[in-house]
């Protein structure tokens, strides 16, 4: 699809029409991708296996690494469903209703994309930390948020917030609410409309957004680093573990754990591509159809 689009554009622009120009551009792009993406990725795996399978396995099976992997899974298990719920609610509100402050809400959703994750982290420290606004009250009730798992979940939810909503809002706006109105008139109740009409219609963009959110929540470093406190075995997620191992000059272990994260990213990419191919989301044909 992309190839087709490129070709039709080059036909309109005579200066790009020559084979030489095209070859040069393609070559430049390939060199760039190889140098900045493929080579570093290969290095990760090369370094991870530099001292053989056994060292790799030992590194991955360390107690604190297992703990970090478990924590990452736990954080994702909380952050992703929360995001799906928030994302659905926000998209529904923005796509289906007119209310005062709708535009503001629509822009606010993008804040996590615009702001540096570190800022998100210190924001939470400022609110929930020991010397923060709610700090005294929280410690009086023996609730630990900063330098504990809840803080890591909060920070992760913050940075992944836009992913589901950003997928759903344009899709739901383009689709309109005709089908839901038709279901209302036919006598369907609100839950019945949601499960039978709305959800089946948005399942692919919803899954797509969920995968993006999941991959980001597994890989998030900056915001989590600020609120974590780096307590090994307790508040260290997988990306933090990689950094700590690296700073301890334990390169092989660092790359071994990094290779796991990379693998997760590759799997995400494949699933994402599969959804795109299966449904045509972000493709020309489908968006054209929806817009109609």
């Amino acid at each position: 699809m992309h190839l087709v689009r490129l070709r039709s554009k080059s036909e309109r622009a005579p200066s790009l029409k020559t084979t030489a120009t095209r070859l040069a551009l393609v070559f430049a792009a390939l060199i760039f991708v190889a140098a900045f993406l493929v080579l570093p990725l290969v290095t990760v795996f090369a370094q991870a296996f530099a001292q053989g399978w056994r060292v790799y396995a030992d590194a991955v099976c360390r107690e604190d690494v297992i703990a970090a992997l478990k924590l990452t899974a736990l954080v994702a298990a909380f952050a992703v469903p929360l995001n799906v719920i928030f994302g659905l609610a926000a998209s529904w509100a923005i796509a289906r209703f007119d209310f005062v402050g709708k535009k503001l809400l629509n822009s606010l959703i993008d804040i996590p994309l615009a702001v540096s994750p570190v800022v998100a982290g210190i924001m939470y420290v400022e609110v929930f930390g020991l010397r923060g606004w709610l700090g005294a009250w929280l410690s009086a009730h023996n609730l630990h948020i900063i330098f504990a798992v809840p803080g890591i979940v909060l920070a992760t939810v913050f940075v992944t917030f836009p992913f589901v909503a950003r997928e759903l809002i344009p899709f739901m706006q383009a689709q309109g609410c005709d089908e839901e109105e038709a279901a209302v008139v036919l006598g369907a109740s609100a839950p019945s409309i949601f499960w039978r009409i709305t959800l089946p219609n948005i399942k692919w963009p919803l899954l797509y957004g969920t995968i993006l959110a999941a991959s980001r929540s597994i890989g998030e470093f900056g915001a989590v680093s600020v609120v974590s406190g780096h307590i090994r075995g307790l508040t260290v997620t997988t990306p933090l573990e990689v950094e700590m191992l690296y700073n301890e000059y334990n390169f092989t272990a660092a790359f071994a754990v990094a290779s796991l994260l990379t693998l997760a990213a590759v799997v995400t990419l494949i699933v994402k591509k599969a959804i795109e191919l299966a449904t045509g989301i972000h493709g020309e044909r489908e968006t054209g159809e929806r817009a109609r």
Binding site: E179, V185, G187
Partner: protein, 360 residues
């Protein structure tokens, strides 16, 4: 079931969609709501359905106040302009939807649902499409599915929102005849929104004409066509020619007499209501004109003629036979005398219509 609409008002911000519209529709009747876009007809239909709420006024279904009755409880069938079929369901499931979501107490059994859906699909002549999905069907077929889906729950009232406007002319014509047959068979009270006067006049028992959120006229197609109450209605129902002042006086006997009102009087004549002659008729009520354009494609010959003193050309329709008998052609001189002229004492309104490109 009867529908009583009482002084419905609806505003969107500063836009007045409906200004106190009242209308009573008898049980089993097919009524068309006709008007240009922005006249409030779709808003009124959605208020009857309960998809919008009125700012003030009441809708009574079968003498029952509906203000607090949710759209899902009104027993209404609604057909949308763009079909609004459930795209992830088969045609069969689309039609079955309303039956499946009924509360357990009244829900039909699986077998009964299958029978009812099959029956409806054969009513709309789509039996063999049950397993297909909406995007495999043509526009006309989709709208028939939408109608079957709306009828599946045995609605007390059927509401159609410009159901045929997205279809091409031939399919549109077939479907509206077919809708009329279905209505005659089922006798369910039906309200049809349309901006197509031909569709409204052909299909409906009675036509309600809306303009800028107000009801202009409500009556049978013949009443509305023969006795339009305002220049707007007259103009909306077909092409018109507009005459005033000296020309109007020449065309009507009385026009010349009361010169005080002359400035505000306008006369309307439809293109087919002209008598065309080569010579001045004996009673003298005719104006000379020159044929500027001839379009002979179709059952009638359409002439565009220039009348001295009239800014716009006048549209005239005559029978083909007469056209040949009189040996007419472009540049020929003729006399026009209206067989029927409708006079309104409302020049401001009439001129406004003219400015909007009405008439020719």
């Amino acid at each position: 079931m009867s529908i009583a609409i009482e002084k419905i008002t609806k505003n969107y911000g500063s836009f007045h969609a409906l200004n106190g519209v009242s209308l009573t529709i008898a049980s089993g009747e097919l009524v068309a709501l006709l008007g240009p876009s922005g006249s409030g007809k779709t808003t009124l239909l959605r208020i009857i359905a309960g998809l919008e709420s009125a700012d003030s006024g009441a809708v009574r279904l079968h003498n029952e106040e509906t203000a607090h009755l949710n759209a899902s409880l009104r027993g209404i069938g609604f057909v949308f302009q763009h079909y609004a079929l459930f795209r992830h369901m088969t045609i069969f499931e689309n039609v079955a939807f309303g039956l499946r979501v009924q509360s357990r107490r009244v829900r039909l059994s699986r077998r009964e649902i299958r029978e009812r859906v099959t029956e409806l699909l054969s009513l709309v002549q789509l039996d063999s499409y049950a397993r297909m999905f909406p995007d495999q069907l043509s526009g006309g077929q989709r709208q028939r599915v939408a109608l079957a889906r709306a009828l599946a729950v045995r609605p007390r009232v059927l509401l159609l929102d410009e159901p045929f406007s997205a279809l091409d002319a031939k399919v549109r014509k077939d479907l509206r005849n077919w809708l009329r047959h279905i209505h005659d068979e089922l006798r369910v009270t039906t309200v049809l929104v349309t901006h197509d006067q031909e569709e409204a006049l052909e299909v409906a028992d009675r036509v309600a004409i809306l303009n800028r959120g107000a009801l202009e006229q409500f009556g049978t197609p013949q009443e509305i066509y023969d006795r339009p109450v305002s220049p707007f209605v007259y103009n909306f129902l077909g092409n018109v020619n507009l005459f005033h002042g000296r020309l109007l006086a020449a065309l009507t006997a009385q026009g010349a007499a009361d010169s005080s009102d002359a400035a505000s009087i306008v006369g309307f004549v439809r293109p087919h209501e002209f008598e065309v002659t080569r010579a001045l008729p004996p009673n003298g009520q005719a104006v000379p004109a020159v044929i500027e354009r001839v379009n002979a494609a179709g059952a009638q010959v359409h002439l565009e003629v220039k009348v001295a003193g009239n800014k716009n050309p006048v549209a005239v329709e005559i029978a083909k036979r007469q056209f040949h008998e009189l040996k007419l052609g472009e540049g020929e001189e003729i006399y026009l005398s209206p067989q029927s002229i409708r006079v309104f004492n409302d020049r401001a309104a009439a001129e406004q219509l003219l400015e909007q490109g009405a008439g020719i």
